[in-house]
Amino acid sequence: MTDFLFQKTNGLTDKQTHYCPGCTHGIIHRLVAEVLEDLNVVEETIAIASVGCSVLSYEYFNTDSIQASHGRAPAVATGIKRVFPNQIVFTYQGDGDLASIGLAEIIAAAGRGENITVIFVNNAIYGMTGGQMAPTSLVGQKTSTSPLGRNPLLAGMPLKMCEIMSQIPSVEYVSRVSTHSPLAIRQAKVAIKKAFENQRANRGFSFVEILSSCNIGWGLPPVEALKWIESRMISYYPLGVYKDGKDLE
């Protein structure tokens, strides 16, 4: 009998992704799918795809899915979760989606303490629309709408979502992880697992921010892009658990 050291997860369909070569969206998809499989909830999960490069993620997650309008995934998740409180519902959102147009929805859903899991893919750019500045783009980062680099005097300093989310009383769990190395990826999986376990245990709103690369948007080769996460992003977006347990009154 042969044993696998690493095996494809049945949390994903067999469909090949449309992502650019080396895009870490693919890694994050797999991590989420593996967690769903590990927790044995693939068949009770409803994924909420958002608008961004991951708009078609409903073709990859081997679950029932709803494709939400730009920024509103947490509201859509609220809708279906309130109908099926025992199913596992998660949103998968980019930084433009969650930290720009969808700020109200993410904070309000967290405020209500919806028992959902949010996978927040922070790649510091609008990938899908061709590399515009995101709220999370770093100071000095050149994008198609900050051609001279993000100027904090005009566009402010990048938003730190974990720091914000952890200030919301009804939030259960907030963690920031990364995808820049195998070790970071393994740690990311631990956080994602925790976030889904919380939901299964009815502990409430869990939020995992995952630093991710957009080599195309950043204009870097894939391997260089991972280095950019490590050298540039992590210092501004420190990894770690920001919150574990609701604030009680």
């Binding site: 044993d3 696998f4 050291l5 690493f6 070569p21 080396g22 890694i27 190395s181 391997v223 991972l226």
Partner: protein
């Protein structure tokens, strides 16, 4: 000798080189000779016997190209 045996789904590979960059024993490379069905130069393994089965390559691959079986450690 190999602790891990890679099963590579060549046609899924997009040639991003992430796996190559994280293999501690540097046994992975792109196949510059043959493009796969998608037109990418896919990853290939140079010295399968040197694989230590760390799974780094599979863990970082964004495209589910790699599965890894336990190598025949008995003979190791």
């Amino acid at each position: 000798m190999a602790r891990g045996v890679l099963i590579i789904d060549r046609n899924r590979c997009k040639g991003c080189e992430l796996c190559i960059s994280v293999c501690p024993v540097k046994i992975l490379s792109l196949d510059y000779e043959n493009a796969n069905i998608k037109g990418y130069q896919p990853m290939k393994i140079l010295s399968p016997e040197k694989c230590i089965g760390c799974c780094n390559c599979a863990v970082i691959c964004p495209d589910q190209v790699i599965e890894i079986m336990k190598g025949d450690t008995n003979h190791g």
